[in-house]
Amino acid sequence: MKKTLIEVKNLSAWFKKNQALSEVNVEIEKNKVVAIIGPSGCGKSTFIRCLNRLHEEVEGAFLKGEVLLEGKNIYDSSEDPALIRRKIGMVFQKPNPFPGMSIYDNVAIGLRLNGMKKRSLLDERIEQSLRSAGLWKEVKDRLNYSGLSLSGGQQQRLCIARALAIQPFVILMDEPTSALDPVSTGWVEELLQKLKKQVTVVIVTHNMQQAARVSDRIAFFIDGKLIEYNKTSRFFTKPESPKSEDYITGRF
């Protein structure tokens, strides 16, 4: 059964006068991993930043079109961006634990600042998030250590746990493994497959093999335009667009 979670309609985005996205239409199904690929500067990051309204936080950025989350337009004037972002979490390219905060606080901060104060509830949710991110065993005895004391791969998983703690139902990942070594990358990829059961994942990646390994659907962008949106297995065997074929075989 096909269940659409996010529907992007005629989305165009700009940075001042530069158009970064033009007329993108995508339907993202629930509990799938969608990989966004394309050459540098093709609007991949802009696209996912439009999905949680981070795009508008950049000076001079604006957009047109609709992003429907469960049928409701997140760009409706009555929608609070902060509330939208609680439903749509994000993991960034570089691991970015909050400076000067312990591992525990890094995961707890989202909950605390959103009003959860009770220690026992916090403890429970933090353990659960760290377990989901596959980090619990490694950090359970040093939750008071600084988040920055962890290795790069652990930091990235901490950031994933931080995003999971507020229980979003979509997670956006902007090249989450580009700063990690192959082992940590493997960890994160394995984690993605587990996360898929609970959440929908949209991941930007430059690594074609990674996109092929982790995703169910591929969205391929060039110059802000969606060239092809296809099943991953189909995309990597017989893509519909010759441009996609050229890109994935390195003839771009």
Partner: protein, 224 residues
Amino acid sequence: MSTKFFDERLGHLKSLIASMGGCVEQMLKEANMIIFKKPSDKKKIYQIIQEREIEIDSLQVKLGKYCYRILAVQSPVAKDLRAILSIISANTSLERMGDLSFEIAKKGRELKEDPLLETSLDCLEELFVHISLMVVDCLDAFINEDEKLARHVILQDQRADSLKDKICLELKTCILKNKELIDTCIQLVGVAEKLERVGDQATNIAEEVVFLQTGLDIKHQEEK
């Protein structure tokens, strides 16, 4: 992925396929000679065929190894992946074709000369020519990635089948007429059958060309 490097490797693999194909073509030609031209140096030609068979085997091993390596190192996708897969498949087909041609030559060598067989031999020669043409065409289609020619070859397979059936029928009547010819006729049925199987392998290669170009597997579709 270094594309230029990959394309060079692909070109190299294709040239190996071409030389295997060349061997098969030559073997068929020489087997033809053994059966129909009744040359004086039968033994020498047979020896050449034997050498070609060995060459094809070594080429097959080499190609298999290269394909395996390129898959491991380059992880090709899309058309590149299909190209490697089709080369692997064509490699197997060509080796089979080499084996079959060799067996045809073997049977030709053991064939006794008998003037009574003229009519059925004519028919067999027609099949021979037809199959040789299919082999040449399928190789051309493969090297040039010519989907049209490949589809043409696939259609030719039916004619090969009907020719084979015709030959078998004629040989059957031959046996009924003259029981002394039974050994020769059985040999000839074997030759016809093996030729038909060479045609099947050529069809396989043609189907790989269609797969390479379209990503569609059209094998076994006529059976449905």
